[in-house]
Symmetry: C2
Subunit: 289 residues, 2 copies
């Protein structure tokens, strides 16, 4: 595994991999790698001859007051995990390498970023789409992998790639969960023991929502009310949103008569946790790829 923080070095390495006819898979991350990331790396390894991973805690996707400073950066551990996962190239640039001058150029996606997390984290998605565009231009992968855990992000990036004719395929992979259902996240480590136990309420609420739809409930309002009760009963928390939205437009859906993304964001102690499921109008899981 090659490890570099330099863009020019990445270009050289990728260029010779491509000259050898290799198919390049790319997993952009903010590090603190967990089983979720590793499943993306594994998927990339299955499709591609060369797997690049980036680790970059991207300052411009954090909103003022968020956890940019506190975000975990266990780089030695990440390097070791990447090596064991068969990664070919680990790119861990500094902030100066990625932003050597003021980042005047921005990429943004309208509409799809206005609901859910976009409503609570102003500028977040612009930071994501801008850095992902930069990383795509640096790595120039054939395929890039994103987790469904960040469903809105994945859908926004898919749209960006289509809208800007980027010559890249985007694959979305299922959320990886802890035994009690909590979605894997680098931010889970912010939780103390009690909060960690409480945190499984997010997935419980999602499962309950799915069950309600399976039982014939079509009104988002009723489902959201029930989910909200589950979250509140689990312990002290602050709900950013519990929403049922169209999987294409990310607009709120009142009556469930097509596939929907059921998504929520809840602050438990120091951690803002998000999770989601995607189901059709009968409550069957929908696999987005």
């Amino acid at each position: 595994m090659q490890v570099t923080g330099k863009i020019l070095e990445v270009r050289k390495i990728i260029s010779s991999a491509r000259a050898e006819g290799k198919r390049i898979g790319f997993v952009p991350t903010m590090g603190a790698l967990h089983e979720g990331h590793l499943s993306l790396i594994k998927a990339a390894g299955a499709d591609c001859d060369f797997v690049a991973v980036s680790i970059f805690v991207n300052p411009i996707q954090f909103v003022p007051g968020e956890d940019y400073e506190q975000y975990p950066r266990p780089i030695e551990d990440d390097i070791e995990k990447s090596r064991r996962a068969g990664v070919s190239l680990l790119f861990n640039p500094s902030v100066d390498e990625m932003y050597p001058q003021e980042q005047l150029t921005r990429v943004y996606v309208k509409k799809l970023t206005e609901n859910l997390c976009g409503r609570f984290r102003e500028g977040h998605f612009e930071g994501v789409t801008t850095v992902v565009t930069k990383l795509f231009n640096i790595v120039q992968p054939d395929i890039s992998y994103f987790g469904q855990k960040d469903a809105q992000q994945a859908l926004v990036i898919k749209r960006m790639v289509a809208d800007l004719n980027m010559p890249i395929e985007i694959k979305i992979r299922p959320t990886i969960r802890e035994r009690d259902g909590l979605a894997m996240s680098s931010r889970n480590q912010y939780l103390n023991e009690a909060q960690r136990k409480q945190a499984c309420c997010l997935y419980q609420a999602l499962c309950d929502a799915r069950e309600m739809i399976r039982s014939g409930e079509k009104k988002s309002e009723h489902i959201i009310k029930r989910m909200s009760d589950i979250i509140k009963n689990a312990g002290p928390c602050e709900i950013d949103y519990i929403s049922i939205v169209d999987t294409e437009t990310i607009e709120d859906v009142e009556q469930i008569n097509k596939p929907v993304l059921i998504a929520l964001a809840v602050k438990i102690g120091p951690a803002r946790l998000i999770d989601n499921v995607i189901v059709d109008s009968n409550g069957n899981d929908v696999i987005i790829t």
Copy 2:
């Protein structure tokens, strides 16, 4: 010369040119090709083994009320000129091909787009940077060529490429002029005979400005006053702006003590004309590339 309106076809053609080890030069245009475009094509031919030209009158870079509908589209003539200029691939997509669905994703450059034409054509540069990003992702050139006549556009695109780490070199080529100094532009054909004669006042004002600086004048205010008199004395017109700006920040400069872009936009009859020169603090021409 291959001519196609299809993105997939372009990808195939470029991909096989690249497989043959060819260096790809790209000249994006809105058609109505004139000597200015042809000088860019010539420069591309000198540097590269394969020259791609796009002709696309991009609706999203026209502000409501502008000349999108009237913009000349002499496609047969353009094809013939391209063929004679040695173009390898002419890409002339339809609006539907470029925008098959709502263009939710946008690329914009802050600050550099706030002055000069950006002040008068709201959203224009966002339309330009968005379509150029799309075209770059479709053609994937090694080098792309822009004319200094659209100096702000060229500087904005240079910054976009740097900020987004696009693997492309941008070359800026000098403005090509008619015998009386009028900068070549597809919009010159909107002018009647009298307006056409009047129109050379733009370059006369620029030359006069340069002379003033050569004679030791450092105050932008004085130079702009003199330029404004020249333009107004030439005949009926509407001045959008006459500005002297920093070549890096595009911010107004009061005292000329480093290289400056002297730029103006003037409406004469149905045509909005722009022109510029770039000079150092002694009034010597500065070649930007």
